[in-house]
Structure formats: structure tokens, C-alpha cells
């Protein structure tokens, strides 16, 4: 008798699970898989946030890239008073459920970056679907335009950007930053955040006056009308966007960005050119393999100063003159030339940072770690103080290898 009651009770309990719906269940083919999200700011409107979602169509994956119905990526856009509202508005057009968890790219337009990134960061952290390992990119212009650039090598624009990011880890002139690192830097006093800038620029051949209209190949998805000379663009990660608190302060160009990376000790690889020591009008190209940076703060009589010591290693990869550079003396000259060049880059970067009043390298944070009491006194005014603090830069460069050839073979003796 008792046993029967238990069984009845268990059955009743189980039926509860069956009778209510399955709330979170969604079939995989009912998902709109968002691969990139571009957020722009349109000032002066009540609904200033423009969100563009790049949604992947799995069904089209097997087909060739091309126009018509077989698009791999479809774009939807919406506007709203906040990012979440904008997405909601876009969702009204989308026949599937928006699925943000596979979104690895957050592209923020320049305007929004200048206005302030706080809404974006807040949205990303709170939303359980958005992953903190997604990359944050600042677009030159608007993010929407960027997403509409035609893909060239990969199947879709989002894959193209992903590929660029993967390759950037080797190039080391620009550093794509995942959001949690960005957040980490923003919330650390004495340090400002930065991330990479992505832009679409015309192909080199389109800059020549002769070529005209030949770039008008098929397919820019999204139906930009107008015939004729539609220029094909290519994407590039170019430059570093530096922030002051959460607003965009400025953009460092290639060499300035590299200088910043030198200061922060994050360069891995790259190439630089110096003047040939023997024939100054020729250039010698050196590659960079390893580097180590040490920043030491020192406080004397209430005055803060920093010392940056860099040790860089590299190889010689090409020379345009016939001089024999493989002697110790020449290598020494090359070393100092390289060191000089590096120092110049670093100083330029420092100058730009000071001009923008952003301490992207993190001098303040370093000071805080070594001399916390002193930092506490200057913490609120750090950006201004940073502008005036003397920084001494010492670079030591070493060239280790010269490729497969020690000295160029003489021509026509």
C-alpha cells in the first residue's frame, strides 16, 4: 500500500516535467548564428545606436561565392536607444532566433568609440551569450560600411576578418584585443586601453589612374546599386586605437603603434628598415625576432621618472647595396642603427601618447605596483602628470643571423 503511494507520487512528479513546455529548447536549424556585430552611433537622434548583425547561412556554405540567393552571410540592422533595443528591433526582421554565442567580432564604429564605449562593454559583460573572448575592433568610418565590404579570399566577410586577426598575431604591428583584456585594462588605474583599427581601403591598383572599372567584379552583398566603377576594397588591420577612459583619444599609425608595442614589451615579429652604414642612401632590412622590455620607475625627491630598457634581437634579411656587412664592425654599426631606429619609434609613440594624454603603456600601473603610496597621491591627475614625466629610453639591439648568405656575391668582377 505504501509502495503504491510512493509510485503514484513519483509518477505525478514526473508528469510535471512532461506537461510544462521545454522553455529553452531551440532546434539548431532555427538559429540565426551571428558571426559579427557592428555597433555604430548616430548622434543627434533619439535612437542613436545602429546595430548590424552579420548572420551566417549554413545552407549556402557548400555553394560558390556569388550573387543571388546563395549568399553566405546576410546582414540585418536595427536602431534603438540602447544596444539591446537596437538588436531587438533588428530581430523583428529575422525569421530565426538570434544566437550570439558564436559571435567573435565586435566592431565599433569610430563615432561610437569617440562617444564612449561604456554601453558596449556593459552589454557584452552582462549578456550571458556574449563571450568575453570576442575581439573588439574599431572601424574607421562606420562599422556597417565595413561589414559590407566584399570578401576576397574567404567565403564570407566574417571569415575574412577572422583570418586577418589570426594572422595579426604573427605580424605584431597591430594587436587585436579580446574584450576581457580591454576590460582589464580599462578597470586598472594608471593604464589605458587600446585595440586595433580595421579599415577598408581601396586596392593599390585602383589608385592608379589607368585602371578604371575593371575592379567592378561581381558581388557586394547588400545590393549597392549604381553601375560602373565600383571600387573593390580590401580590409586591413591598420593602426592602434588608444582610449582615454572609455573614449577614443586617437589612432596611432603603424610606426607609432609599433613604438607603443616596444614600450609595452609586446612585439614579436616585424620588419624594419635602416640606412646602410656604408652607403647611406641604400637600405638594409632587418627582421625582429625577440625583444624584452623592462620599465623601472624611480622617485627622487618627489619627482617621478621612468627608465625603459629594451633588448631586441633580429636578423638581417635583405640589403640593397653590395657592401659586405658581415664583419663584426659592420654588425656593430647595424646594431646601433637598429637601436637608433627603435628608439626613434618609441619616442614618437611616446610623444603621440602624451599628445593624446593617454598612458596606454601602463606607466601608471607600473608605478602603482612599485610605489603604491606615491601613486595614490597622483592617481587622479595621472593623465596630466604622465605628459610631463621624463622617460629615459635605452635600447640595445642585436643582430644574430643574416639569412642563408653571409655577404652578397659580387656581380661581374
Amino acid at each position: 500500500m505504501k509502495r503504491r503511494n510512493y509510485i503514484l507520487a513519483a509518477l505525478l512528479a514526473c508528469s510535471l516535467i512532461f506537461t510544462s513546455g521545454c522553455w529553452d529548447q531551440v532546434e539548431i536549424e532555427d538559429l540565426a548564428i551571428v558571426r559579427a556585430i557592428a555597433i555604430d552611433y548616430l548622434p543627434g537622434r533619439r535612437a542613436p545606436y545602429l546595430v548590424t548583425l552579420a548572420i551566417k547561412r549554413p545552407a549556402a556554405m557548400g555553394q560558390q561565392e556569388g550573387g543571388g540567393g546563395g549568399e553566405q552571410v546576410v546582414f540585418y540592422a536595427g536602431v534603438g536607444a540602447s544596444i539591446a533595443l537596437a538588436i531587438e528591433q533588428a530581430a523583428t526582421h529575422i525569421p530565426r532566433r538570434i544566437f550570439l554565442t558564436h559571435n567573435d567580432l565586435v566592431i565599433v564604429g569610430e563615432q561610437l568609440a569617440k562617444h564612449g564605449l561604456l554601453p558596449v562593454l556593459d552589454f557584452v559583460v552582462r549578456n550571458p551569450d556574449m563571450r568575453l573572448s570576442a575581439f573588439l575592433l574599431i572601424a574607421k568610418g562606420t562599422g556597417q560600411e565595413l561589414l559590407h565590404t566584399a570578401e576576397r579570399l574567404e567565403g564570407s566577410i566574417t571569415e575574412e576578418i577572422h583570418g586577418l586577426i589570426d594572422q595579426a598575431e604573427d605580424a605584431a604591428e597591430t594587436q587585436p584585443v579580446p574584450i576581457f583584456r580591454f576590460l582589464r585594462k580599462i578597470t586598472t588605474p594608471g593604464e589605458e586601453a587600446y585595440t586595433v583599427v580595421i579599415q577598408a581601403s581601396p586596392l593599390p591598383k585602383d589608385k592608379l589612374p589607368a585602371a578604371n572599372g575593371e575592379g567592378a567584379q561581381a558581388g557586394e552583398g547588400g545590393g549597392n546599386g549604381g553601375g560602373g566603377a565600383k571600387q573593390e576594397k580590401s580590409l586591413a588591420l591598420a593602426g592602434m586605437a588608444v582610449f582615454r577612459s572609455d573614449r577614443l583619444a586617437g589612432i596611432l599609425n603603424h610606426s607609432e603603434a609599433r613604438g607603443k608595442l616596444w614600450l609595452a614589451g609586446m612585439t614579436t615579429r616585424g620588419i624594419m628598415a635602416v640606412d646602410d652604414p656604408v652607403h647611406p642612401e641604400e637600405t638594409v632590412t632587418l627582421s625582429l625576432t625577440r625583444s624584452q622590455t623592462k620599465i623601472t620607475p624611480s622617485v627622487q625627491a618627489g619627482r617621478i621618472s621612468f627608465r625603459v630598457e629594451v633588448e631586441a634581437e633580429g636578423d638581417l634579411i635583405s640589403q640593397s647595396s653590395q657592401a659586405d656587412l658581415s664583419t663584426a664592425e659592420m654588425i656593430e654599426k647595424l646594431n646601433s642603427a637598429k637601436a637608433g631606429a627603435i628608439k626613434v619609434e618609441m619616442e614618437k609613440a611616446l610623444q603621440k601618447m602624451r599628445q593624446l594624454e593617454t598612458d596606454v603603456v601602463g606607466f601608471g600601473a607600473i608605478l602603482k605596483r612599485r610605489e603604491p603610496k606615491i601613486f595614490r597621491e597622483v592617481a587622479d591627475r595621472w593623465p596630466e602628470i604622465f605628459v610631463e614625466v621624463p622617460v629615459e629610453i635605452l635600447v640595445k639591439a642585436n643582430i644574430r643571423r643574416t639569412g642563408l648568405q653571409a655577404k652578397p656575391a659580387r656581380i661581374n668582377r
Binding site: Q25, E29, A59
Partner: protein, 553 residues
Amino acid sequence: MPSAFSMLRKLLKYKLADNSSEEKQAGCRGDAIRQEDSPLLEKRLDLIRKRLGESKDIVIREFSSNNNQVKLAILYVDGLVDRRLINDHIIRPIQSDFVVKNFSHRLAEKNALQLLKKHITSISEVAEAANLTQAIRMMFSGDTALLINGEEKILVYSTRAWDRRAVTEPETEPAVRGSREGFTETLRTNTALLRRRIRHENLRLESMKAGRRTGTDVVLAYINDIINPLTLEEVRRRIAAIDTDSILESGYIEEFIEDVPFSIFPQLERTERADKAAAAILDGRILIMVDNTPHVLIVPTSFFQFIQASEDYYERPHIAVVLRLLRLFVLNIALMLPAAYVAIITFHQEMLPTPLLLSIAAAREGVPFPAVAEALLMEAIFEVLREAGVRLPKTVGQAVSIVGGLVIGDASIRAGLVSPSMVIVVAVTAISTFALPAFNASIALRILRFPLIMLAGMMGLYGVIFGLVIILIHLAGLQSFGVPYLSPLAHGSVSDMLKTFARPFWWMTRRRADELGLQNMKRQAGNMGPRKTPFAKRELTHDNTEEHDAGKR
């Protein structure tokens, strides 16, 4: 829900059987026979004919001794006996004149029993049945009964011979290495196979009977100074308490003596292989051999029987580790793969790497069923295929299962009924089920898979884990004759735990398993490893018959 422990307590209320169960089993008829029985041959034979009916295969042959002093009759079942033995060694000596001429005592009805038994008949195994009932029962086992006029007791000779299956490789447990001898349906052959492997005086074969109408012989085999006597007592008690009409297979006994018959998981191990059975006995376990079936039961056992196979012990231990871990992995797959797949693609798509997500999404475009229904459907179809493959004759069965699987899978993908990824998942699951050495494991897994798929469809990964925890709670409370089902992993010493997965080299196994509560723990001498003492310096044991002393428990 009543706990396994209380169930255990209830099931433990078996009565101790007493020795006179034979008479009790015979029932009223036995008493009637006993009442009507008389030493007079005529009356006896009349009684026999009345009771046993007119079966043509029960032969009654009356004859008398050479000197015409003693009237005798033999009783046997044709087909169960070796008639030459009866003719040459029972009838002829009695009928020949050798008795009259050369024997010192005169054969008369008074001394016939002793003289026949001791001097005249020449069959090696002879017993005295106290009454007709006993004699008849022994006759049904293949013995020949010799009735003497005027004598209450009956001589019963062992003349068993019948068509038996040869000792071949068992089909359900083929051996890659190791002996191929499998048990057969004849109990005596089986015990002989065992004796050939364990030639020690302490190997005991205890005989019992089970089943009123079948009278099946059950033999308990164990090594007397190793086993845990409490376990043996328990096994004896449970088998003796079985009171039923028929025991046709060891499976019947298995159900009668299990701790928790409701559980899907078998609490006794089953094997057809002689070497596996011998190894089990040497480990300190008890074997239950049942007549008319080649499957013997091994008691006690644990969950990890599912991932252990005999080959592990014959081949190098390195491969044993790899294979056991593989089997554990395969066990998990066989149980959980469809459910995990359904859970992930329905609730937790964020777990998939993006390329995989996109391919699965592309593959599932246009499929009419939700993933749960698809999974259940495909699993059901594969179960049907599997069952069909078992019933068909061997040559056709293989082809049909393979072709059926391929054709159905392919056709259903083309028809757009299921997605290719689901077919792969189901196929991998099916293969994994076959990779497990134990068949009774696959029963449990096949059944449990379906509720897990349903739970996955309802609550995603949380539901799967919910189901797994339920299974875990059940397993953790399960016992097999006092040994916790999840030991050694959940209860034993560290060395036992390691032995589940990695069997040590033979020269390292000094002790037996801890969990069984054995008397004699020490298996071998200590310095058998190659490095400790070089071979040249070791003590030679020419005489290998002294066993190692019992180590401390």
C-alpha cells in the same frame, strides 16, 4: 523509495533448507510410493509400471542369477545410458557361471546385495538407494537401478552416457589468446575442465539440486581456504531456498538469488569460458555451475566486470591499460552519446566549435523532426535491426544487418527524414555497444539510453546529468553478495583501484583483492620481479605444491 538496504534485508529472510528436502520435493506421491513399496520384486515392478506409465524409453529387464537363487531386475532410461556397460558389467557377470564355479560364498537373496556390490558387478561407481523414490530419481539422471527380490535397498550403478556437444570455443566470448575451451551442457565435463586447471586438493565442488520437476544439478565450485566463508554460506542458503518447478538455465538461478532483481544491472557475472572461470575461483570467488547450460555464474562481482576481459591477463599489461581505458570510454559513449548529442544541439549550441555548428546546422536544414524525436526514431530502428540480425541464420544475418543499416541510413538521409550527423551518432553508439566484452552490460546500456535521450530533450545537459546522477545513486547503493557494486573504485584501497584499470605485471601481483574479505591473501612470493633478484640468484622451487601462507587480512 525503499532503499537497496531494506530490500536486501527482506530478501535475506530465506529459510535454511534441511537435508530431507529430497523427500519433501517428491511430495505426496513419494509417500504413496513409499507406502506401497515392498521388497518383493513383482510388487515393485508393478508399482513402477503403474507410476511411470508406459514410456517406451524406460526399460525394465528381469533376469536371475546363474544359480537361479536370486531374482533381479534392472531399470534404466534408454538414451541416457551406455548399454554396453550394463550388458557386459552388470548382466553378464551375474548370468555367467563364473559365479557358481569360482566364488566361495553361495549367492542367495539374503547376501545378494553385498556380494553383487563388492565382488560380482564390475562398474566403478555404485551407490545404494534407500528406497524406490531415490532410485527412480537417480535413474532419470542416467544411472541403472538393480532391484533385488526381497531386498529393500536398491543398487544404483553410474552408467551415464549420452550425446553431448563437443568442447568448442564459446561463440559469445571468442578468445584472441588463451584457451578456447568453453563449457558444455554436461556438468561433469564442466567440472572436469575446471579440475584440469586447478589441481589442488582444496578445490571443492559442492553439489546441490534445484527445481522440483527438473531436478537440475547445481554445483558450487570454490577453493576452500581462500574464499570468504560468509559469502559461501550466503550463496548456499539462497540456492537452497529456491522452491520452484523448473530451473532450466543459470539465468533462472540468477534471478532467484540476486540482491536486487529489479535493477537493470546484473549482480552476478556470467561466463562460458573455462579459463575465466578458473581465474575467478583463484581470485577467491565462487562459481555456480548449472546442468544443461554452458553459462556459469560467478559471485560476487562488481560494475567493473563490464570492462574487463580475459585477454587483458594474457597479453602484455601495457595493452591491458589502454584497452581498459578504451572500454571505459566506450561504455560512456554507448550510454551517453545520443543523449549528449541531442542535449548539445538543442540546448547548448554554444558548446560547439563554430565550424561544427555550421555543418550540423546545414545538415539539419529541412529535417522535419526535432532532434529528440529523430534520435529516438533512429535508435529504435537500429534496435529492430539488431534483433533481426540475431534471429536470422548466421550466413544471412550478417549481410542483412549490414545492408539494412547502410540502406536504411542512406535512404533516410536522402529522403530528408534524418540528418547525416544523427546517423553517424547512432552508428557510433551501436558499434560502441558491441565493443564491450559483457553482453549483459549492453542490455543495461541499451535500455538506459532511451530515458537519457528523453531527459536530454527536456532539459538539455542538465537533464542528462540528472539521469546520470540517478543511475549513480542506484549503482552506489547496489551490492553483490556483500560487495559494493562500485568497488573497488568507490570503496577499496588505492591498489585495488589501480588494478581495475591497469593490471600489474604478474610478477607484481602478490595479493588478492581486498574487497572480498578473503582468508588467504597472499598469492605469490615477493621477489619475482626481474630487477630485484637476478634470475641466477633466485631460489628454485622444484616442488610447487606447497601453497603460500595466508597473509594478513
